[in-house]
Structures are given as C-alpha cells and as structure tokens.
Symmetry: C2
Subunit: 195 residues, 2 copies
C-alpha cells in the first residue's frame, strides 16, 4: 500500500517516513507555494532516506488566505495549522493513505482528533501520524539512532518549512514578519544516515 508522507526534510517527518517504510510503499511529498522555490536540500534529504520524493504546489489562494489569518491572529499558529491541513487534503487526492511527522508534544501543526477524523471522512483516506504516541525524549532517541541532522534557525535552513514563504509574503504586504513570529524557531534538516 502506498502512503504519501508530508516531508519538510526535517527530523520528524523523516523519522515518520522511516517508521512506515517497512510496512508501506512510502513516497515523500513537499509542498511549496510557488514553482520557483528551491527545494534542492529537501530533495537531497529524501535521497538520504532512499525514498522517492515529489514536489507539490499549493492551490492558488492558499498563501493569501494563510497570510490573512496570520495578520488577523497576530501570531502564526492558526495560519500554519491551516496550511498543514490544506497540504494533507491535497495529498489525499493522490494517496489513499497520507501521513505526517506530528509528535505527541507538538502544538503546531497539530490536528485535534475531530479534525483528523473529519479529514479521513471528507477525503476518504487514512491519516497516519507514526510519531503521535512518542514523547519528545523518544523521538530524540530514535532520531539520534538513525539520522544525522543539521540544526539552525528559520530563514537559515533550506528545509521545506512554510515559515520562510509566509515571512516573504508578509514583507510583500509591507509588514515586518518579526512582529508576528517568535524570535527563535529551530529547524532541522536531514543530512545523512547513522551506520
């Protein structure tokens, strides 16, 4: 059975993909708002995992909708959750089983149980979160046992996180993104395998 995994190139979605790989035919999928975005480092992270990788583009209007939400809220959680939900729904057009790297301790992006059921009911798919039952200490332990990762701040890591494009969108609207995003947000990028 094929499963489409939402893949940022970071440690969590990589670990989720590796946990599913013995049981499913895993394909990695990275969404960007525009065709032009450089996702070379994310594609390379997929190659490190030895799994096929696809670039996907969000439907028109999603970025503006997310920016509206971000500005209205004054902080990014709702906008990032919205973008993540749209990505899962879009993925369900190609796959009967979709998955992501959401962890037990995540708050954003995180679908609550009702939203997860609604996604499955509306899209007729299964939605798997292999890390949902793993607390942070165990995710860290598993990542360390199998992946070489690089850490850095948003804007300095070429992974598939949505924050860069949201920040650029705000700047196009004449809004300083530093007024809406937390000052520090660590990102990760898979650079190699252990052993």
């Amino acid at each position: 059975m094929k499963v489409g995994v939402l893949f940022s190139g970071g440690k969590d979605s990589a670990l989720a993909a590796l946990l599913l790989a013995p049981h499913y035919e895993v394909e990695l999928n990275t969404f960007a708002f525009g065709e032009g975005r450089d996702l070379g480092a994310v594609e390379a992270a997929g190659a490190v995992l030895g799994l096929p990788w696809e670039r996907r583009v969000f439907p028109d209007g999603v970025l503006e909708c997310a920016l509206d939400r971000l500005v209205a809220d004054g902080y990014p959680n709702g906008a990032i959750r919205l973008v993540h939900r749209v990505a899962l729904e879009a993925l369900a057009r190609w796959y009967g089983v979709v998955a992501d790297g959401t962890r037990f301790d995540d708050r954003v992006p995180m679908l609550d149980p009702g939203e997860a059921r609604s996604l499955m009911d509306r899209c007729g798919c299964s939605y798997i979160r292999p890390l949902l039952g793993f607390p942070r200490a165990e995710v860290d332990r598993l990542v360390k046992s199998c992946l070489v990762i690089e850490r850095g701040q948003t804007g300095h890591m070429p992974n598939g996180d949505y924050e860069d494009e949201l920040r650029a969108g705000l700047r196009r609207r004449g809004i300083d993104p530093t007024s809406l995003f937390p000052p520090v947000h660590e990102q990760t990028l898979v650079r190699g395998r252990v052993g």
Copy 2:
C-alpha cells in the same frame, strides 16, 4: 534501550510490540489480579512474537478499588481505565520506557494527553503508544500483514484482558456482571505470524 510493553496477548498490544522491536529491547508484561490466573495462552502469544514475557501481579487492593468504581459508575469504562493506569505506573518501576497498544480510535483504556504527561512526570518514564496515530483501518491492515489472530467474546478467550477478573469479582460480591458490562465485547488472541 529496554521498553516494557503492557501485553494482553491481543492484536493491538502485539502490533505495538512488533513496531517497537526494531528500535528497542522489547519485553512483554501481563498483569493479573492474582498469582493463580492461567496466562498460558498469553505467554504462548508472546512466544509467537519471539519476545520475552513476564507475568506481573497488581498491588493488593487494586481489584477492590476497581470494583467499587465499576459499581458506582454502573458501567466499566472508568474501572478499566483505572486498572490500565495502575498497570502503567507499576510497570514504570521496572522500566524507564513503558508502552501499550492504545489506538487512535480507542476510548477505553485511553489516557488523555494530560494523564499521559502526568504519568511520565510522576514516574520519571517515557510512555510510548506506537498505535496512537494509526486509525483502525491501518491497524487492521498491519495486523493482517503480520499476525494470525483468533477472535471471540470476553469470557471465551484466554487473553490477558481485565474484564474476566472484574466479572468474577462482581460475582463474588453477589452482583450479576451482565448488568454492568455491554453484552458483546470482542477480544483477540495472537496465534501465529504471517509468512
């Protein structure tokens, strides 16, 4: 790293153990209220998985406490949740990482996120639920791909479910268990491996 998995001999806890086995040193643990309970079929299910198995006995008083709760509630959910929580807490005395077969769709037994965090904080352990992010259809798919299971009703399946002992405890108190338990509750027992 060792992980102590709560194991009933049924499909969910067996699948949880198999998902952890490539990454942890898995040990299966089955709790009973008394030394005398026949757990031969559960031990055999553990042998089918090729994993070490331990019989554990609940501390004194847990059965009576659960029966009080069951009678007070008029239905078994709270009592079963209580027993499950006590089993996890007891397991955390022997293991730094404990796990169970709780699924996304489970209601009983199911610790809510706050209870799961409290267990980890109070007991200084990690608590993993490998199936928490898997909806029923995917659990069924994975079980079918790797396990031969037998299905039957509570009371007719020699697995490690707590319901039999709770029913017997009610009868000792002169209470008809059929007045407090749902009429139909399917159980499973692992009988073999696929392939």
